[in-house]
């Protein structure tokens, strides 16, 4: 996935939820939106990017509330998105 593109999209989401309440409410809103609408490869890609940190993350311009929301969804330790009650059908 094109990380630059994901960063742009995520920042747009962040900009909307920044206007919706407190910082914590914004992080909640962003995390909920990403979980509801982003496919797991997208979450994984941005999660890996955020968790790798460093200069790339700093220079990307990714907003802080988005960083926090992504870390909530894709914990640093295993880079796999948390999906409640995973229920994937067996591959045929």
């Amino acid at each position: 996935m094109n990380v630059d593109h994901l960063v742009t999209m995520a920042n747009q989401i962040g900009a909307f939820f920044s206007s919706q309440g407190t910082h914590e409410e914004a992080v909640d809103g962003i995390a909920d939106h990403l979980k509801r609408f982003w496919e797991h490869r997208m979450l994984q890609a941005i999660g890996s990017f955020v968790n790798a940190g460093g200069a790339a993350l700093e220079e990307s311009g990714l907003q802080q509330n988005v960083v926090e929301a992504v870390r909530r969804l894709v914990p640093p330790q295993n880079n796999t998105p948390i999906i409640d009650a995973m229920h994937n059908p067996p591959h045929r």
């Binding site: 094109n2 999209m9 989401i13 900009a15 206007s19 509801r36 496919e39 999906i83 994937n88």
Partner: protein, 950 residues
Amino acid sequence: MASLNSLDYGTPKRTSETLVTLEIDGVSVTVPAGTSVMRASTEAGSKIPKLCATDSLEPFGSCRLCLVEIEGRKGLPASCTTLVEPGMKVRTQTEKLQQVRRGVMELYISDHPLDCLTCSANGDCELQDMAGVVGLREVRYGYEGANHLKSAKDTSNPYFTFDPSKCIVCSRCVRACEEVQGTFALTIDSRGFASVVSAGQNGDFMDSECVSCGACVQACPTATLMEKSVIERGQPEHSHVTTCAYCGVGCSFRAEMKGTEVIRMVPNKDGGANHGHSCVKGRFAWGYATHKDRITSPMIRKKITDPWQEVSWADAIAHTAAEFRRIQAQYGRDAIGGITSSRCTNEEVYLIQKLIRAAFGNNNVDTCARVCHSPTGYGLKTTMGESAGTQDFDSVADTDVIMIIGANPTDGHPVFASAMKRRLREGAKLIVVDPRVIDMVDGPHIHADYHLQLRPGTNVAVINALAHVVATEGLLDEAFIAERCEAKAFETWRAFVRDPRNSPEATEAVTGVPAALVRGAARLFATGGNAAIYYGLGVTEHSQGSTMVMGIANLAMATGNIGRRGVGVNPLRGQNNVQGSCDMGSFPHELPGYRHVSDDATRALFEADWGVPLSNEPGLRIPNMFDAAMDGTFKALYVQGEDIAQSDPNTQHVTAALTAIECLVVQDLFLNETAKFAHVFLPGASFLEKDGTFTNAERRISRVRKVMPPLAGMGDWEVTVALSNAMGYPMHYDSPSEIMDEIARLTPTFTGVSFEAIDRLGSIQWPCNGEAPEGTPIMHIHEFVRGKGKFVVTEFVPTPEKVNGRFPLILTTGRILSQYNVGAQTRRTANVAWHDEDRVEIHPQDAEDRGIREGDWVGITSRAGETVLRARITERVQPGVVYTTFHFPESGANVITTENSDWATNCPEYKVTAVQATLVSHPSEWQERFERFTREQVRLVEERKPVHAP
């Protein structure tokens, strides 16, 4: 021209709570007050002779055939213009009336060709009928006097002929153009014997303002205005009621047939959306269904540089299933997906998303709403609780203030625009919010009270400024808000919108709209009575599309304009079944009925019915599919009735993604732009070849009826069933009706819907269930679907697409009346007579600055690419803004649009692209490559190897 099976009552139906009883020919008749004597008599079973009267038009009283005798009244009043009164005694047939009527007919026939047996209206001519009814046996005037028999025909219109030699100057055509269509293109020139119907300034129809809606042809009682298809093929002998496959109005038509050949499409007067009216597309542009470009055999190939090989359906399905399974085995379950079609029925779309969820095992399904009204789904669901408009079209008849935002109804929803224009002529006020001077701003007898000609990309600033006026000048509907809306959310929103940064004065520099205009418009909207907002893609196709939809909902709730006739939030859905496509679960995050895939209870319902576990994760949206394809993790795609290579933004990115896909399956009528990258082509069926339902912009579910067998031998739903079975997920349905029964079983808003119910009621607006067994024309009447309405703060965030020295202009896009979307259908009809290429509209000042004149080739360059279009110099666009349509693939309109999109839904920001315009002398590099690639792909189809006989 009389449509088959249609009784003409002579004058329009009236509704009134007061009933009037009168006596007609000794029989007591009771009708609503305001009904004409003519209509009352027809309803009682006794038809009064007529020629200038027809029930789609107001009475005119010119032909003098419908005279009656009324006890106690002098003379012989015309029954069409005489209203019923209590106790009236009418006689419709007396010796005196017989003589008068015969005399009238003698006058008509004295100046009329006597070629009935070879006339195209033979047997379907009201003049002929009346001659028979009055018992005309001779014309005492003879035929040697002055006459119009040698008047020249006007055959300029590709679809109908005007033959003035047969005209009886009843003025029905003129009145139809005024009252029904609202274009006022026709008039009666001169007086007395010299009277003649004139189009425009006495020119021919094609040179006039005529928009070829066909209302005049339908109204004409003789062969004067006649469809060329009837002249050439003869009259139809049976008909089927079906629904148009073009725009989101969803007009009901009678397909009039001879055998399996369509002779003409006539708008159905009982159509709930269109009430007997139509536009040029639905009325006349249906010939694409049997165009020579139709591909009717399945085809496969290994590489897109290979020639196509025709194969049998069995082989094509088996090959597709095998490829999809191979790719999943190699790349993972999520490496494949599909795109459903708004061209297809609800039943067909439902099966595609079922195939993807149950057989593919993922949620990688999306639909064309992604690129048009997905923000409507998000915004209205968030604020009101349902992803659809709140009203029916008829509601406009009770509207006092119409606000049109980012829509061009005369071009995109012409039949509904006619209803809007009628209401405006009756005195309703109009506010237009659009960067362009659309036709509604200034048309025949209509004029916008306010035109907020904003800069593209500043919608949210404008809606916030309108709301600021409402919230600071005491114009809030406090009682409605207190009763119907969440208090805390409202308080937060009110504090936000009252902030001076949202005032018209503060936003003027950004929007370009003078503050005084914004204040005037807001005051009118809030105090002018019933106020309704109609909006289109000029709202949704922006980086803040969803935010703007919520801003619209905020304004409607703030002024109490929800929950009754005449008000509401009305998204003008573009396509015939885009609403239905969304309803049926085409989104990657929602099952049918707009329920999130993570909703365990809903998922359990579908799992129990479908017999398989389903994924609870959102799948890929269309733009994400392209990104994943470029990434190498998305390798197969099933595209039904969509042309993403033409319709989606940043064409070069899309085609690069399609090239990266290993198995692209396209199901369509023609070799479209996407099919040029395909490995499997499955021939699709047009709307004339299918049974099912479409859902229009009013949530109206209407029947689509098959009038001819599928040219390719299989219906689209049958193909999906076959593919599912081949992939190992069993599907079996005996008919599309069974599919709708399953939908109804699983979707609470559809529980009362069935083919039987639709046939009985004519059409049904969902929700249709126990609470609303006959459907729901108006929503949110007592409470919102989510309970209380939710105000949402809509902070203006400027688009990232900035103009600068290199790209100083803003390009915005739209539609034109005669062509439809990517043009796959309309380009293959005579509609090219009106629009045979996309042009770029440029303001005279911008053109002069660049040395560009009318018709010059102009290079349009953006950060994404470059294309070349011919110039149209016009003041409809403001300086700094250029505009084009996207109906011709060679225009490359989407080569220059970017990947900017709505924050919530990824709906592309088609309406704001920073560009430069330059005078050029040759096509762009992309256009040259496109031309070569197209030539090659057309050759590969034309040289396709036929299927070998067993």
